[in-house]
Amino acid sequence: MTSMSAITQTSDLTNKAALIPLATERPAYYRMSGIEETSNVSSEFQEERSEEEVEEEIGYEDPFRYVFYRDRKEWADLEPVPQDDGPNPVVKIAYSDKFTDVYDYFRALLKNDEKSDRALLLTAEAIELNAANYTVWHYRRVLLQALEKDLREEMRYITAIIEDQPKNYQVWHHRRMVVEWLNDPSEELEFIAEILSQDAKNYHAWQHRQWVIKEYKLWDSELEYVEQLLEEDVRNNSAWNQRHYIISHTTGYSDPAILNREVQYSLKQIKKAPHNESVWNYLKGILQDLGLSSHPGLLEQILELKETHCSPYLLGFLVDIYEDFLENTLEHHEEVLSKALELCELLAREKDTIRREYWSYVGRSLQTKYGSSDSSTTTSAPGSDSGSVHQETPCSS
């Protein structure tokens, strides 16, 4: 059997693919998708053609000529390995024929530890059917290295796969490995931006972006990119996280001018969309080390905003400012404490009732820490359920 010689080189397939009207820029093997025909039809054709012609056929999108691996002469040397499910089903599971066929042959390749171009092609098919199968990806990487494949070609491949299935650990890890092997991040920022334009919160995409930026020191235009994303959706938590990431790793927040710039930027975004968890978490996050009450003019700005752009977040933030004030100053305690407690009560009773336990806790903590010791505290504690002040309720009671 001249199985090995019948294997057409990938580049050949690509060249020939260009002649076929349906071909696109994707590698030919990627086009073998979703085609299922009965094997009768395919084997009929198979007998009339040379091995090479059959191979050509397999590479191109001709939906009526998909040939199962079990029917391909050039794969006849391999004994397919059926799935071993372990603790299983008395009843045989019927999967799609194509899935079974591809994976039976994948297992055969693994078993023989075959390192060949046909194996590489088959991994692409297996991935197409189940891109989360990490074992296939491992094997593909082993093959890429053993066969010294063109990694630029692989970049094109993984680009297409990610575009199709962007929410999968394996595809992104694979891309990272290829970038590392090539030591070339030049396409990354643009590619990730493209993926993020489809889902601006794709967690995997953001991890990859952070890695690329840090590894290859591509910090320069990232803040601009983040601002653009926030223009599009000011509630994008990933973008706010990225903002923090960039600034932390470049200028830092210790320069008062930068800190103030960020505070003012945040307040501006709050005006645009007051009900925005992310911006409030960001604002608190950047100020908490220095202390919320220490930032000049902030309290006044927040109180102003309260009149026109109020939200439970704003009220909660005010409580945080007052708390910080109580912690760091000795004057006006009663007045400030009273304001803080009033807000906690308002939040628990009306503005953020789903979190009344939290607001109740905050109020009680403040009372305990800063209240005068002879005031009867518990009965005025906002939102406390029947005055019970016990330790954490064991939830199995």
Partner: protein
């Protein structure tokens, strides 16, 4: 501003707990014809078995599963390097190594595996900076830090790794909002937070968490529907009811969630016809969401379900047998100055 991202629970959504249906669903899972989903998930089969067995045990129905077959399967999934794969013919990974050890712990039978080799495998995954790779290909993620210490804790072999460095790495993933991501700088995410708080619990380092700040971030996950999301501006999902709730339990702030609203959401995720839980009401069920729905209800105090351990997501009685009591933070702020408490005739301390 724009609408809050959330679901609306229909008035005819399930409101009673259908444990028997869920047990039947799990017992029959994988044995139906044409179950394409079952085939597709072969690459995570070990975890799938862990989800199924754990939820059955929580419902007191573990005996309906085939212990011998499962033990044999696990044995055949341990590789020479000591790691365990998701299924036969797959490569080893720390995720499936943990699942295997969890399953065998349920059966009190970890010696089905070569335990020393498991320990070696896990030890070998630790990097210089204290982080853990998932497998030999080097993906780093705090999920794997959790998997590593959870595996070793169950085997009583926490001494095998450099714990100080491991802790250092996890702490370096703590963000400005008090949460944790998968690597330093990564966005806070409830799933990662569960892994990191679970890790810190096992490592005895929970005091390093800013419990009030993180607790606030976590209780902010609760949406008007009562369900929990995984990060800001995302839809609720029953599995976050576990990741978020367990984290809150670990840091001693579980009562910051409106429990009855969450309970209603979780129950609404049941499928009355097929049994099982879906990610949100009306969607298709699967074993993953079934476990986390039931486990979430257990944390909320559901009487019909066994107590679940929030760190390891395993029945408490199993950990009791193993003598494992991972730390949990308690509500540490004194609520009333001691002088006042002891002066009161009718104490309000219950």
């Amino acid at each position: 501003g724009t609408q809050v991202k959330d679901v609306v629970i229909k008035s005819d959504a399930p409101s009673a707990l259908l444990l028997d249906k869920h047990a039947d669903y799990i017992a029959a899972y994988g044995s139906k014809k044409d179950d394409y989903e079952y085939t597709l998930s072969e690459y995570l089969r070990m975890s799938g078995i862990y989800w199924g067995l754990t939820v059955m045990d929580l419902m007191g129905q573990l005996t309906r599963m085939n212990q011998q077959e499962i033990s044999d399967f696990i044995k055949s999934c341990q590789h020479d390097c000591g790691g365990v794969s998701a299924s036969i013919g797959h490569d080893p990974h720390v995720l499936y190594t943990l699942s295997a050890v969890q399953i065998l712990s349920l059966y009190d039978n970890v010696n089905v595996l070569d335990v020393d080799k498991v320990v070696e495998y896990v030890r070998g995954l630790q990097q210089e900076d204290g982080s853990f790779a998932g497998d030999k290909w080097g993906e780093i993620d705090t999920r794997f830090s959790f998997c590593a210490v959870a595996t070793l804790a169950l085997l009583g072999r926490l001494d095998a790794i450099n714990m100080d460095k491991a802790v250092e790495f996890v702490l370096s993933c703590m963000n400005f909002d008090g949460g944790f991501g998968c690597r330093p700088g990564s966005e806070s995410h409830a799933g990662q937070i569960y892994c990191c708080t679970g890790f810190l619990s096992i490592a005895g380092q929970l005091h390093q968490v800013n419990a009030d700040l993180l607790g606030w971030w976590l209780c902010e996950r609760q949406l008007p529907s009562g369900g929990l999301n995984g990060r800001p501006e995302k839809l609720p999902d029953v599995c976050y009811s576990w990741w978020v709730l367990a984290s809150l339990k670990i840091i001693g702030r579980i009562h910051w969630i409106d429990k009855s609203k969450l309970r209603s959401f979780i129950l609404a995720c049941q499928d009355e016809e097929t049994g099982g839980f879906a990610d949100r009401p009306g969607d298709m069920v699967d074993p993953f969401h079934t476990l986390f729905g039931v486990a979430g209800l257990s944390l909320l105090g559901e009487g019909q379900i066994k107590d679940v351990n929030p760190v390891l997501c395993m029945p408490e009685d199993v950990l009791e047998r193993l003598g494992l009591h991972p730390d949990l933070l308690s509500y540490s702020t004194p609520l009333v100055p001691a002088a006042i408490v002891f002066n009161r005739s009718s104490s309000s301390m219950s």
